[in-house]
């Protein structure tokens, strides 16, 4: 079965100064939720932008494979990418407050996607917009269409962003930390909404987040990123049951679980901070913070299998302690 999105060895660097992404490989199957998880600065957002072709001038993107369904994205020019964006591939972002243009109504901003990709008229586009607003759980959609972004709350705006992304019935939705800027209660609503939409529409979802709780709840497959590369990739169950990479284990140890954490016991933490990677760096980016680092870590490490469908990037054996 062809994956909806296939990425192999994606690399991005900025004007030769920072190697933001050093080798990301992942696949998103049809109808699947694939979570890309990592701390801020690990390159997950950049990877998503790179897939969509939304990087700024001065950024260089390379990949061995970058394929959306049957289309080779590396071969498309800006025009070609623009045709896909908003139509078959859609993206929503972290900051709903600033992601909508304050000068135009919700209706106008939603309608233009439909008009652009389907050649529809204003009336038809607005009807579709109203329908989708209802789909994402917004009451009185007709009223909302005429409102301006500043008249809506953060949660509502994010729902609008989701509805807007769905206007042309995309195959793939990339969501870059869609709930980070929202209140906790609203977060849960948005996540529930995404799950429901996925079931109803058969949407494939690439969800970027730093929150393992969200991963546990939403993910079918997970890719863990650190310092520009994917260090572990598995199904959600396998990842939580048998985390293999030292970083993943460290991350999971950081989560206090009620009932298992005892008083007087220190909370888990990973000493150190995420490094900035300069071009020319090779080997594992985690080695300065890893208690098991050894000289071999400075060489390029390939992904290995811990189990079928469970890959990790480390010199240690899968069952290390």
């Amino acid at each position: 079965m062809t994956p909806v999105l296939e990425v192999e060895n994606l690399r991005v660097d900025f004007s030769g100064r920072t190697a933001a992404v050093r080798g990301v490989s992942l696949q998103v199957q049809r109808g699947e939720t694939h979570c890309l998880v990592g701390e801020s600065g690990c390159g997950k957002s950049v990877s998503a932008l790179a897939v969509m072709g939304l990087l700024a001038r001065g950024a260089v993107r390379e990949a061995d494979v970058l394929r959306f369904q049957d289309t080779d994205l590396t071969r498309l020019n800006e025009r070609g990418m623009a045709r896909l964006r908003g139509d078959k591939m859609a993206m929503i972002f972290q900051e709903p407050m600033t992601s909508l243009n304050p000068a135009y109504t919700i209706g106008s901003q939603m309608a233009e996607v439909f008009e652009r990709h389907r050649g529809a008229g204003r009336r038809a586009a607005l009807d579709r917009a109203a329908e989708l607003l209802g789909r994402v759980g917004i009451t009185a959609p007709g009223l909302r269409l005429g409102q301006f972004p500043h008249q809506l709350s953060g949660g509502l705006r994010q729902r609008v962003m989701i509805a807007m992304a769905l206007m042309c019935d995309p195959e793939l939705l990339i969501a870059d930390e869609p709930t980070t800027a929202l209140d906790v209660t609203v977060q849960a609503q948005i996540l529930r909404l995404l799950q429901a939409l996925q079931r109803e529409l058969g949407l494939s979802l690439l969800l970027i987040t730093h929150d393992l709780g969200i991963v546990a709840r939403m993910a079918d497959r997970v890719s863990v990123m650190y310092a520009g590369e994917v260090v572990e990739s598995a199904t959600a169950e396998a990842l939580f049951a048998a985390p293999t990479h030292p970083y993943t284990r460290g991350l999971l140890a950081c989560i206090p679980v009620p009932g298992t954490v005892r008083r007087d016991q220190p909370l888990g933490s990973i000493p150190g901070t995420v490094p900035r990677i300069a071009p020319g760096f090779s080997g594992c980016g985690f080695r300065d913070r890893c208690t098991h680092a050894r000289p071999a870590c400075a060489e390029t490490i390939a992904l290995r299998g811990a189990a079928p469908g469970h890959l990790y990037r480390c010199v240690l054996p899968a069952d290390w302690t």
């Binding site: 390159g43 957002s45 790179a50 990087l55 700024a56 001065g58």
Partner: protein, 287 residues
């Protein structure tokens, strides 16, 4: 910053900007020196008329080496007048800025620091000032009170303070709420001390940028007023006045207006380059 959307400055651009600023500074410095040392540099007396040699073209256009830039309609040496004109322009620029700066900064700081009623008054005064067409008022004042160098400086000084006031007010308002002001207050510092020793030094750099812009404006305005006959009085060698006096001859002897005009252009350009460079330096520091 959104990853992937940072604007990356190419190293070359920065260097060009520094070059431009240095060039501007050089121009201003040269003109300043020329103005200061005018008596030593000018080959002739700028006021000495020689009716036997009127409207002589510059040396390279058929004139004589005695008057390198030729003479004007009263036989006065153009080069000497140009050099002394530098003196007038710099005097106007500097003194006007000092006057307007004092007025504007005082108003702006007071309004920005105290807020409330005081600020309302300051804003009203600024709005009034912004509502009047500069040239018109300057012309009227000079016409009514007679033209003289002092009067022009005073008039311009009393008119060109608005940008000083606006910038001083805005920056003071930003600084007012910072911690070191509160600390100074808490330790019982007097108002004068706070304003002069805490607020002012921190807004000075912005005001310096304004000062360069206002200086350029003052010089241009004086030239315009003098050109219209209502600025610096004849026979003073103001560049603007020289252009006005040469207007009648400009078709036959275009250098009469090209030379002083070019001098004005170069000086104002230099000041603007300097000011822009200062502003960029400020922004770079902040980032």
């Amino acid at each position: 910053m959104i990853p992937g959307f940072e604007r990356h400055e190419v190293a070359g651009v920065l260097k060009l900007r520094h070059l431009a600023t240095a060039f501007g500074g050089l121009i201003v410095g040269v003109v300043l020196l020329v103005g200061i040392f005018a008596p030593l540099l000018a080959p002739h007396d700028p006021f000495a008329q020689d009716l036997m040699h009127r409207v002589v073209p510059p040396a390279w256009m058929g004139g004589s080496p005695a008057n390198w830039l030729g003479t004007d309609q009263l036989g006065r040496d153009y080069l000497s007048r140009l050099i002394y004109g530098a003196r007038i322009s710099m005097l106007i620029g500097i003194l006007t800025v000092v006057t307007s700066g004092t007025i504007g900064i005082t108003l702006g700081v007071l309004g920005g620091f105290f807020g409330g009623r005081m600020d309302d008054v300051v804003m009203f005064v600024i709005t009034c000032r912004l509502s009047i067409p500069l040239i018109l008022v300057a012309l009227t004042v000079v016409a009514l009170l007679g033209s003289s160098l002092t009067l022009v400086i005073l008039t311009l000084g009393l008119l060109l303070w608005d940008r000083f006031a606006v910038v001083a007010r805005t920056t003071t308002m930003q600084v007012r709420n910072l911690d070191y002001i509160a600390a100074a207050r808490a330790s019982g510092a007097s108002l004068a001390h706070i304003l002069l020793r805490e607020v002012l030094p921190n807004i000075l750099s912005h005001l310096l940028v304004v000062a360069t812009l206002e200086m350029a404006l003052a010089i241009l305005l004086e030239a315009t007023l003098s050109f219209l006959g209502l600025g610096v009085p004849s026979p003073l060698p103001s560049w603007g006045l020289m252009i006005a006096e040469g207007k009648d001859y400009m078709f036959f002897s275009p250098w009469v207006i090209m030379v002083p005009g070019a001098a004005l252009f170069v000086l104002v350009l230099g000041i603007n380059l300097l000011g822009d460079g200062l502003r960029d330096l400020l922004q770079a520091e902040r980032v």
